[in-house]
Symmetry: C2
C-alpha cells in the first residue's frame, strides 16, 4: 500500500486538482476537511459526514490530549476506531489552540507549558510530545508543532517566532521519524510561518524544504487579518512551497475564501465554519449565506436551497428549520450542519470539475456573482 | 380506508396484543409512542425514529400552539408535512401541560387562561379551542381536553375536577364531530380522571362511555404518586373501560412501569423518559439503566448493550459514549436517544410476542429479574 502519493491531474492558472493516495483512502483535491474537534464532527454521525463527500477529517490534538487523553485513545484502539471513522484523519499539532484556548501559557525553546481550559491542570507541549500524541491517536497526516504569533506583532517578534517554529519543525521531523511503524504509515506536514511578510515567508519555506515534508501548510493566516490581507499573502506563499506537494491553508474559511485560495494554488482546507454556523442557524447556499433565525423564514415553505440534495433541503422547509433553530432544537443543528457540510463538499467538487475542464476563472466569476449579489437581499 | 379499527389478536391474563388500523398506518399494540414535543423527537431525524420501530408519535398541543402556532402549521400543510412524518400522530389536548408548564393559570367552566412560559403572552384554552388546534395540526388521534388536579388533593377537589373534565369531554366530542373532513379521518380519545379513587374512576369511566370514544386514556397518573400507587389504580381502572377499545396510559414510563401496566391491560404509552434520559447520559439495557457519565465507563471498550442492534451499540464503545456525554457533545444525545428509543421499541415487541405466545407472566418475571438485579451493580 502507498503511504502518501500526491498526483496532480490538471492545473488551470495556479489552481490544481488531483488526489492524495494514502493507506486509509484517497483524498480528492482541492479538499475540505470537516473538523472533528473532540473525536466527533459536532451534531453528525460519521457515516453522514462521509455521505456529504468528505474524504478526510481533522482532529484537534489540544482537545483530545485533555479529554479523553491520547494514551486513553490509544488503549481504546486509536482515534479511528474510537470515533468510527476508517478513512484518513489529519491532526493538528496543538500549537495554535494552545495559544488561542488555554490559560497561563509560557513559551520557551523547549515548548509550551499551559493550563487546561477545562480544569486548570498543567500540561507541557513540545514538538516531541506533539508527535507522540498524534502517533498515539493514530493520525494519518501529522502536523509539525509550531507557534503562531499575532499577525500584527512587530516584525522582529514574527521573525523570532518563525525561526523557533522552524527549529521545532526539525525536532518534529526527527521525533516523527523515530515513531516506528506509525512513521511508515503516516505523513508529516510542515507549516510555513512569517505572518504577512513575504521575506519571512520565503525564509520559512526554504527552511521547511531543507527538512523535507510530505506536504506544506500555510500557517498563521485566518487570525483576523481579513480576506484582502490573506489573499495578499496567498499571492506569493503557495509559490514559495514545492509545486509537487499538497499545500494546506489551515483554518480557512468562508466559501469565497476557499475559491480565492484555490485560485492561488491551495489544495487543502479545514474550518469549523460550516458546522459552527450551522449550529447557530446559518445555512450556506449558492446565493450566499442565509440566517434561518430571521423571521422572514417563519412561513417560507421553500427549501433552504432547491439545488441541494441534502436531507435538510429535500425533506424540510425553511419554515421548519426556522422553527427548530428558534426553539433550540438539536435537530436544527443536525440538519443545518449536514446541509453546510454538503454545500462545502459540493463547492469543492465544483472547483475540482472546473479546474479539470480548464474553466476555473469563468466558474469563479460566476460563483462570486451569484454568491455575493443575492446574499444581502435574502439573509 | 379504515378510519380507526382496533383488533385484539391475543390476550394473556389481562394483557392484550393487537393492532390499530388507521388511514396513515397501522399501530402494533401494546405500543410506545415517542414524544415529539415541538414537532421533533429531540436529537432524532424522523426516519431514524421510524427505524427504531415506532408506528406513531405524540405531539404536544401546548408547545405547538405557542410555537410555531397551530394556524401557521396548518398554512404549512399540517404537522405531518412540517416535521416529515407520514405515519399516525397522536396529539395531547394541552390540558396537562398548561397545568405543569404555564404561568398565571385561571381555570373556569369555560376553560383555562394562562400565560405562555416562552414570552408571557396570554392564551385561552377551552375544549373547543383544543379540538380546533388538534384539527389544524392534522392530528390522527385527538385527545379530549381535560383538567388534571394533583393526585394528593382532597377527594372533593378531585371529584369536582373530574366532573368538569367529563363535561369538557362532552364539549370535546361535540367540537371534534363538528370538524368536518378531519372528523371523518381522525379518532377521538376520552380521558378517565379520578386520581387514586376507585369510585371516582368508575364514575368517570361511565361518563366517558355515555359519550363514546374511539379509545380511552387513563389520565392523572405518573404525576408523582409512585409505582405502587399507580399499579394500585391500574389494578381496577382498565377494567372500568371498554375491553374492545384501546387503553392508553398517558405519560408512562420507566421500562418496569410499562411491563406492569401491560400486565394490567394497557395498550398504549407515551413518555419523554427514553429521549430525555438519553440526552442526560442514561442508557436503558435489559440489565437495567446505565449512567454513562460514570467514570467506570471511561475505558470500557464494550458496547452499551451487546444484545442491541442500534447504531450506538454496534459501532461505539461505552468509553466513547462516556466521552461524548462528558464533553457535552450533541452526538452523545443523538446516539443515546436512538439507543433508548430502540430499546423501548424492542421491549414493546418482546411483550407483544410474549402475549401472542401466551407466556407473558414468565416473560415478565424474567424481565424483572434481569432488569432489577444487575442494574444496581453496573450503573
Amino acid at each position: 500500500m502507498t503511504r502518501f502519493t500526491f498526483t496532480i491531474a490538471a492545473t488551470d492558472g495556479k489552481a490544481r486538482t488531483g488526489r492524495i493516495a494514502m493507506r486509509r483512502g484517497t483524498i480528492a483535491t482541492p479538499a475540505f476537511m470537516p473538523v472533528g474537534t473532540a473525536a466527533t464532527v459536532k451534531a453528525m454521525k460519521p457515516e453522514s459526514v462521509r455521505a456529504t463527500g468528505a474524504d478526510i477529517l481533522l482532529g484537534n490534538t489540544y482537545h483530545l490530549m485533555l479529554r479523553p487523553g491520547a494514551e486513553r485513545v490509544a488503549r481504546l484502539g486509536g482515534l479511528h476506531r474510537f470515533m468510527n471513522w476508517d478513512r484518513p484523519i489529519l491532526t493538528d499539532s496543538g500549537g495554535y489552540q494552545v495559544m488561542s484556548l488555554s490559560d497561563l501559557r509560557k513559551i520557551t525553546e523547549d515548548g509550551v507549558t499551559f493550563a487546561s481550559h477545562l480544569d486548570g491542570s498543567r500540561h507541557l507541549l513540545t514538538p516531541e510530545r506533539s508527535m507522540e500524541i498524534q502517533r498515539l491517536l493514530g493520525s494519518d497526516i501529522v502536523m509539525a508543532f509550531d507557534e503562531c504569533p499575532r499577525a500584527d506583532a512587530p516584525r522582529e517578534i514574527i521573525a523570532a517566532s518563525m525561526r523557533m517554529s522552524m527549529r521545532w519543525a526539525r525536532r518534529s521531523r526527527d521525533a516523527f521519524d523515530g515513531g516506528g511503524e506509525h512513521a511508515q504509515a503516516a505523513a508529516l506536514f510542515g507549516i510555513q510561518q512569517g505572518a504577512l511578510d513575504e521575506g519571512l515567508r520565503d525564509e520559512s519555506a526554504a527552511a521547511l524544504q531543507d527538512i523535507g515534508f510530505d506536504g506544506y501548510a500555510v500557517g498563521g493566516l485566518a487570525v483576523g487579518e481579513g480576506q484582502e490581507a490573506m489573499f495578499g499573502v496567498l499571492d506569493f506563499a503557495p509559490g514559495q512551497l514545492p509545486a509537487d506537494k499538497p499545500r494546506y491553508l489551515m483554518g480557512v474559511g468562508k466559501p469565497d475564501d476557499l475559491v480565492g485560495a484555490v485560485e492561488r494554488g491551495i489544495d487543502m482546507f479545514d474550518c469549523v465554519l460550516p458546522s459552527r454556523s450551522g449550529r447557530n442557524g446559518q445555512g450556506f447556499t449558492w446565493d450566499g449565506p442565509v440566517n434561518l433565525r430571521n423571521a422572514r423564514h417563519a412561513e417560507d415553505s421553500a427549501p433552504l436551497d432547491p439545488r441541494c440534495a441534502c436531507d435538510a433541503c429535500t425533506h424540510y422547509s425553511r419554515a421548519y428549520l426556522h422553527h427548530l433553530i428558534k426553539s433550540g432544537e438539536i435537530l436544527g443543528a443536525m440538519l443545518l450542519t449536514e446541509h453546510n457540510l454538503t454545500f462545502y463538499q459540493a463547492l469543492m467538487a465544483a472547483m475540482r470539475a472546473a479546474i479539470a475542464e480548464q474553466r476555473f476563472a469563468a466558474w469563479a466569476a460566476m460563483f462570486r456573482r451569484d454568491y455575493a449579489s443575492v446574499a444581502a437581499l435574502t439573509a
